[in-house]
Amino acid sequence: MSLVDDLYRETILDHYHNPRNHGCIENATTSVEGVNPLCGDELTLYLKVNEAGLIEDIKMNAHGCSINTASGSMMSEAILGQTVERAKEIIESFKNMMLTKGEELPLDEEMEDLEALRGVKKYPVRIKCALLPWNTLLEGLETAEAKPGLSSTLSDSK
């Protein structure tokens, strides 16, 4: 298997051609923009977080490469319906997978699809593409937490 085959696995291409949770949320509790300064790729991420700190909905409007789009699509599936607290753990665990050198950390079961992105590690320049949705989500969650109505319920999740 060549490097490119490893990078452009079926799972990634499936998510690229049919991104899940694509679009916007009209009554989003938080929306946040992410930019990859390297290539100019942009995405807008919408979140609907309820009073209990549960992510009820997530949608993304992205114009990016396959890695960026697929990563965002898989991310949305992994965190939809999770608590903010759990979402943060998932973000951390994914970022660890992408950024840790040497020892390969296994991912949790619910993040199985995301294993497909491990191949991106062989292309250091593209790691940023894969991380853009995740860093944008992290920013979104932090914004959501800072909001007055939600702060009381979300403050425990730190």
Binding site: V4, H17, C39, G40, H63, C65, S66, I67, Y123, R126
Partner: protein, 443 residues
């Protein structure tokens, strides 16, 4: 079995050409350049990427370097290294003679009147900033207009944005035709009595468009404006005469024309440069210094504060010598042929979008394109695995990307050592990329 006695690959042994290479193709390269010989002068072209021959098509970003230039750098540090203009010893005298000799080489290359009009900078960006800070802050006043094209590189846009904000001046953008050429009809109206500066690329690094600099300069001069040309893409590929372009400033970089990184040139008309204040202050740019005030040096040293990039400037002379020996007309002819061939081959791909003028005589060897439903970054990655280096992204031209309604483009750019066969290899890799991404361009 390989033994120690076997010679290493040297400049004389070219890698075997793949089977697809046909003699027919060879005769199709008609320009008078001896490409095989040229390729032997560039050691890096023998490099392999994962066992595949390197196909370097990112020349608009930076060109590769001939051995004569690389050796010159080496020789300088081994034989002449000394600081210039000051030392009263042999090494310093030799280094100074070589450094100042290169100024004369550059003067000849761009047909400037006097070598004191040649200022060495770090690159095009610094050269443009020099004009923006020194001339700009002295001359641009509230209400003045700075005219530029919508396809300027960020380095010929951002310095003027900042100046315009500071001075309450206005940026005025020329119009492009559908093919990405300057709309000369509206240009005649947009360049008006408030125009203080026209600053324009000689050749677009995205669309390849060669701009009608002389015609535009005449319009600007009629309004009493000053004209700057960003020659970063033009000077390496087109025969350039600052006198026949009838402009006031020209900025370009040596690393895009076979030279080392870290050397740029600002040419300016002597009378304008003389009236400008220095841009940076320190050693070498003064004629005498007292505790409270100093007298500044004369041109060109007034604008070259500090120890210059001596080694790279001297080696830049070798890069120019190389191009001069080939002849810039021949260089242009070769690039035009390869561009014409690339344009015709790329059109074979279903759904491809090719940007810029369709006529190869109106453009340089830069071809930007997008494949249907493949992000340029994905394309660049798949091509890289085939040993092919192209550029993917916004090419430091984000406003133009917005006009084209894309996030970025893929870009292949050619130079003296590129062949028709390499265009064929690009085509094969593009078809492969389309297959990998499960698309339709080749169906």
């Amino acid at each position: 079995m390989q033994t120690l006695n076997q010679p290493l690959k040297t400049a004389e042994t070219e890698p075997d050409l793949p089977h697809s290479y046909s003699e027919e193709r060879e005769t199709a390269t008609m320009s008078s350049l001896d490409i095989d010989k040229i390729r032997r002068d560039f050691p890096i072209l023998r490099r392999e990427i994962d066992g595949k021959r390197l196909v370097y098509l990112d020349n608009a970003a930076t060109s590769q370097k001939p051995l004569s230039m690389i050796n010159c750098l080496n020789e300088y540090y081994q034989r002449y290294n000394a600081n210039v203009h000051r030392g009263i010893h042999t090494l310093s005298e030799e280094a100074t003679a070589l450094y100042e000799g290169t100024r004369e080489t550059v003067r000849r290359f761009i047909d400037a009147r006097e070598s004191c009009e040649i200022i060495f900078t770090r690159g095009t960006t610094e050269a443009i900033n020099l004009v923006a800070y020194s001339w700009g802050r002295q001359n641009v006043l509230p209400g003045d207009e700075i005219v530029l094209s919508p396809m300027e590189h960020h380095s010929n846009l951002v310095p003027w944005q900042v100046l315009a904000q500071e001075r309450e001046a206005k940026l005025v953008f020329l119009d492009l035709t559908e093919d990405g050429e300057i709309n000369m009809e509206t240009a005649a109206k947009l360049i008006g009595p408030r125009t203080k500066l026209l600053t324009i690329t000689q050749m677009s690094n995205v669309l390849g468009t060669i701009t009608p600099v002389q015609e535009l300069a005449r319009l600007a001069h009629k309004q009493g404006a000053v004209v700057l040309v960003d020659g970063a893409q033009g000077v390496p590929h087109l025969e350039t005469s600052v006198q026949s372009m009838e402009v006031d400033f020209l900025a370009f970089s040596m690393h895009k024309m076979l030279g080392p990184t870290g050397v740029g040139v600002l040419w300016g008309k002597k009378e304008i440069l003389n009236a400008m204040p220095p841009f940076m202050y320190g050693g070498d740019m003064i004629s005498s210094v007292a505790r409270e005030r100093s007298r500044y040096n004369e041109l060109p040293w007034k604008f070259e504060a500090g120890t210059p990039n001596i080694a790279d400037v001297i080696a830049s002379g070798k890069a120019i010598d190389y191009l001069t020996t080939l002849g810039m007309e021949t260089v242009r002819e070769h690039e035009m042929e390869i561009t014409r061939y690339a344009l015709s081959r790329l059109k074979e791909l279903k759904g491809i979008t090719i940007y810029g003028p369709k006529d190869a005589t109106k453009r340089g060897g830069v071809v930007s394109f997008n494949m249907p439903d493949i992000h340029p970054h994905d394309l660049g990655q798949i091509l890289s695995d085939a040993g092919i280096a192209i550029r993917a992204g916004h090419h430091c031209c984000q406003p133009l990307m917005k006009d084209l309604k894309v996030m970025g483009t893929a870009r292949a750019s050619f130079y003296i050592y590129n062949t028709f066969e390499e265009v064929d290899m690009l085509m094969a890799a593009l078809r492969e990329a389309d297959k990998v991404m499960g698309n339709v361009a080749c169906r």
